[in-house]
Subunit: 163 residues, 2 copies
């Protein structure tokens, strides 16, 4: 506690999870912000061969009851393995559950968050479970789920994290 | 049964699911084949900002016990919404569970398959549940899971299906 208090005085921009620094432990949260642009969605759709008009056609999306074109859910969910791999290069994805709770529109600020819930050593690696969430407008959950990954090490690289 | 037998004599290349033609019903299977290339993986990684070396670095992947560079699991899983949307434009993804059971390597022939398991009318749309699988080498399951989507209609477009 004391360490955390001291650390947050000196590094106020870092989340508590970053302070325990280099070793992942249960409860730690890793985050990343992203805005998906119209060209991200076009590129993704070319790559995935998915031509769902909800992603391109504003009129179609509005007629279906949405405010704007939807970012494909699986593209938004790509934040989770990206966050994990940015801290643990070589991570191997084992499972992912996803509940798409609210639409994500092109241009919205999305925060992806993974929280370690269980870590167990297997041979010389680690099987880690995570709660996985994406938020918009601060605390509005748009994707909710869980992931499991094999991590080659629990030593966190600080790479692209927001803390 | 008779209809199926006659039809499969005249259209031996079509799966049974295609014969019931235009309306989705429980049990129907929709498929799509795909080979993920090295450039698909590079493009996807640029788009998802995922720089996991398992996807690019042959030596790294081999040192980690794999035969070759891995196609990102979420890219392989993009086959599922793509298959669904190609038959049901305007489909809205509600949930997806994914178990990544075996590695998918660049250049492998992958068959994505979704099978309707439950369909229920909600207002003027349909909530459809699917078993979702990807295979390689014929019948070797590489991804196993389930998806739920809201379909604007049960009338199947024949678009990009393999049947």
């Amino acid at each position: 506690m004391l360490t955390k208090r001291i650390a947050s005085r000196f590094y106020p921009s870092l989340g508590v999870s970053s302070l325990s620094a280099s070793t992942l432990k249960s409860g730690d949260i890793l985050k990343k912000e992203r805005i998906f642009s119209s060209s991200d969605v076009i590129e993704y759709s070319k790559l995935s061969h998915d031509s769902n008009p909800l992603h391109f056609d504003l009129k179609y999306a509005q007629n279906a009851g949405f405010e704007d074109r939807l970012v494909p859910g699986m593209l938004v969910a790509s934040l989770f393995p990206r966050i994990i791999a940015s801290h643990f290069p070589g991570a191997v994805y084992v499972s992912q559950k996803l509940q798409f709770r609210s639409p994500v529109y092109i241009g919205e600020v999305i925060i992806g968050e993974v929280q370690a819930t269980n870590i167990r050593a297997i041979k010389n690696q680690y099987l880690a479970q995570f709660k996985t969430k994406c938020f918009k407008q601060g605390d509005h959950v748009v994707i909710h789920g869980e992931a499991t990954a094999i991590l080659p090490t629990l030593a966190k690289e600080q790479g692209q994290s927001m803390g």
